[in-house]
Symmetry: C2
C-alpha cells in the first residue's frame, strides 16, 4: 500500500474538484464567441487533433457534433504532418487542437498546417499562455486550475464539457443549456460512488487484463476509463464499442474474464444490455456503471450512477466511477497514485 | 494441439493464397474507372465506414490518402446513423464502405444515408451480389475468391491493395504502380517467415496479454495483428501507435511484458526504434517484424521481412508475420484455427 491514504492523494483531490471545475466552466462567456466564429466559417466537417486523454475527449466530440449538429468529424493522424511532412488540405474544415498543457508538439503542428492554409483553428487547453493557445485563431480555456496529478481527470471532464458547451451554442438549443446546468449537481452525486469502490477494490488485486465496453457517446468513456486503468494500475485494459467487440475480440472472453461496461439509459442501452447478458452467460466478471436497475442486476460489481443524467452528458458523469476505480485498484496494488512509473505530465511526441 | 497440422488449416491455405490474390487484383481495370469518378467528384475529404478487419484497412487508407493525395479521411461512427438515427451531412465528401461480405448492416446504412444526400458512394467488398455492392454508386471487387476461415487474412491484404491501387490511379504516379507490381513477389518471400514462427511459437504458450506497436502506415498493421491474436489465440492484445503508447499506456510495461513491434524502414523507423530501445531497457519481451538489422537485433524473437519493401506498401507485407504468429500461437494453445469460439464469419451489428 502507499504511505498516504488514497483519499488524501492529489489525484483524489482533483477528482473531487470536478463539480466546481465544471460549474466554473459553465459560467464562461468564451463559448458563445467561438461558436459565432465557427458558425460563420460554415465548415463541411471538423478536424480534431489530440493525444492521450484529450484524444478521448475528441471521440466524444465526434458523436456530439454528428448527432446534435450533423457535422462529420475527422480525428487527425498527426504523424502525417510530423513524420511524413505531408499535411492534408483542410479546405472546407475547421481544425480544433485539444491538449491539457497546450504543449503537444504534434498537435501544434497540425494547427500550424491549417493556419498556413488559411483554415480557421481553435485550441482547447488548460494553459492560455501555451504554444497551442497562442497559435490558434481562437482559444477555449478549460479554467480547471493546474492539474498536478499525472493522470488527467478534471481536465478531461472539462474538455468534454467545453465540447458540450460549444455544441449547445452552435445548436442554439435552450434544452441543451438546461441539461448542462444540471452537471455540477449530477457530478457531485456521482462522487458518492467512491465509498462503494473503496470497499470493493481489493477484488481486482490479481487482475492482469480487462476490457472496457461503451458505445455511442460513451465510446469515449470506455477509452478514458481504460487509459486510467493502464496508467494507474498497470493492468492492460482494452476499450471497445459493443459493435467492434462482436467483430472478433469477444473470442477472448472466458470464465472470470473481467469486463467493465458503461451502460447509461438511452439509444445504446438495449445494444449494451444484450452484449452484457451474452458476456454474463459466458461467465465473464462484470462491473457495470449505470443508473439502470436491469443493467446493475447483471453485475458482480454494480456501480450505480445518479438518476436523470441526459444521455449526451452521461460521459461526463460516468467516467467518475472509472477514475475512482482506477485509483483505488492502484492503491490496492501499492502503486504511486500521483506519479505512475515511467510517465510525465507533459508527453512530447512527434 | 488441434487434430490437423496448422499448416493444413484453411487459415494457412488462405494466408498462402495472398500473393496470387494480390496479383489478380493488380490486373483489374476497375480501379481506373472508380478513380476517374472520384476525381470528378473533387471531394474535400473522404468518409470511410467499416468494422473489424475492414476498419483496420480504413486506418491504412487514412495515411495513404493523407500522404499521397493530401485528402483528409474521417472514419465514420456508424452508430450515429443506426442507434441515434442522426446521420451527419456528408456534403463535399465521398463515402466509401468496406466489408468483406458486403453485408455489414450498419455500414450499409451509412452508404444509404450518403446516397439519400446525393453524395457519391463506393463499396469495397469480396461479394459483387451483396447489399453493399448493390447499394453503392461504384463497387470495387476484391476478387479474392470466398474466404472460408473466420479470421480474415487474404481479404484484408486485398482491401489494403485496393486502396493502394485507388491512390495510385488518383495520384497518376507511375512510380507507385512500379511499387505495386513488386507486391506478389514480396508477399511470396514474406511467407517464408512461417517456418521461423512455427519453430518458436511455443514460447508464447503462457502469454495472457500483449501490446502491438506500429505507426503511420503500420498503425493499421498493429490493429490488424492485435485483432488476429485476439480472435485466434484469445490473448488480449492491444494496438498502439508509438506516440499514443507514450501518453500513458507504457506505464504497464514491466519485466517480460510481451511487445510486438512493426518496424519497417521509412519515416517512422527512428521513432519506433527509440521506443523499442526504451522497452528493451525496461526488460520487455520484444518480437520485431522488420527488414532492418538494427531493429531485429533488439528482439528476443526477430521476424525478418523481405528487403526492399516500399514503406507505403509495407503494411501489406508485414501483416503476414502477424497472421502466422496468431495462427501458430493458437495452434500451440490448442485452439480451433478456422472457427474461433464465439465468432461467425458475418457479424451483424447495428
Amino acid at each position: 500500500m502507499t504511505d498516504i491514504s488514497p483519499a488524501d492523494s492529489i489525484l483524489a483531490h482533483e477528482i473531487r474538484q470536478q463539480p466546481e471545475v465544471i460549474a466554473r466552466l459553465l459560467s464562461q462567456s468564451q463559448f458563445a464567441q467561438v461558436a459565432a466564429a465557427l458558425r460563420a466559417a460554415k465548415p463541411s466537417y471538423i478536424v480534431l487533433a489530440a493525444r492521450g486523454s484529450s484524444d478521448n475527449a475528441a471521440r466524444y466530440a465526434q458523436y456530439l457534433f454528428g448527432i446534435h449538429l450533423g457535422i462529420p468529424v475527422a480525428l487527425a493522424a498527426p504523424s502525417i504532418s510530423t513524420l511524413y511532412q505531408s499535411p492534408p488540405r483542410y479546405r472546407d474544415a475547421v481544425v480544433i487542437g485539444i491538449s491539457q498543457s497546450g504543449q503537444a508538439a504534434d498537435v501544434l503542428q497540425v494547427l500550424k498546417d491549417a493556419a498556413a492554409q488559411g483554415v480557421p483553428t481553435v485550441a482547447i487547453t488548460n494553459a492560455p499562455d501555451s504554444p497551442m493557445a497562442q497559435q490558434a485563431d481562437y482559444h477555449l480555456d478549460l479554467c480547471a486550475e493546474p492539474e498536478r496529478s499525472i493522470a488527467a481527470t478534471k481536465t478531461y471532464t472539462a474538455q468534454l464539457t467545453a465540447f458540450a458547451l460549444l455544441a449547445a451554442h452552435l445548436a442554439e438549443d435552450g434544452a441543451l443549456f438546461a441539461d448542462l446546468h444540471q452537471l455540477p449537481e449530477l457530478l457531485a452525486r456521482a462522487l458518492d460512488i467512491a465509498s462503494v469502490i473503496a470497499e470493493r477494490a481489493e477484488r481486482f488485486r490479481f487482475m492482469t487484463r480487462c476490457v472496457v465496453l461503451g458505445r455511442g457517446y460513451n465510446y469515449a468513456t470506455a477509452f478514458e476509463i481504460a487509459l486510467k486503468i493502464k496508467e494507474l494500475t498497470y493492468v492492460i485494459a482494452e476499450p471497445y464499442s459493443s459493435a467492434d467487440f462482436r467483430h472478433g475480440p469477444k473470442a477472448m472472453v472466458e470464465e472470470d474474464f473481467p469486463i467493465i461496461a458503461i451502460m447509461p439509459d438511452g439509444a445504446t442501452f438495449l445494444d449494451m444490455l444484450a452484449l452484457a447478458q451474452d458476456m454474463r452467460a459466458r461467465s465473464a466478471d462484470l462491473t457495470v456503471i449505470s443508473a439502470n436497475p436491469e443493467a446493475l442486476a447483471l453485475a458482480h460489481l454494480p456501480l450505480p450512477m445518479p438518476q436523470g443524467v441526459p444521455e449526451w452528458l452521461s460521459p461526463i458523469v460516468s467516467v467518475v466511477a472509472g477514475q475512482f476505480l482506477a485509483m483505488y485498484v492502484a492503491a490496492v496494488k501499492g502503486n504511486a497514485l500521483d506519479a505512475p512509473r515511467g510517465l510525465s505530465k507533459v508527453t512530447q511526441t512527434r
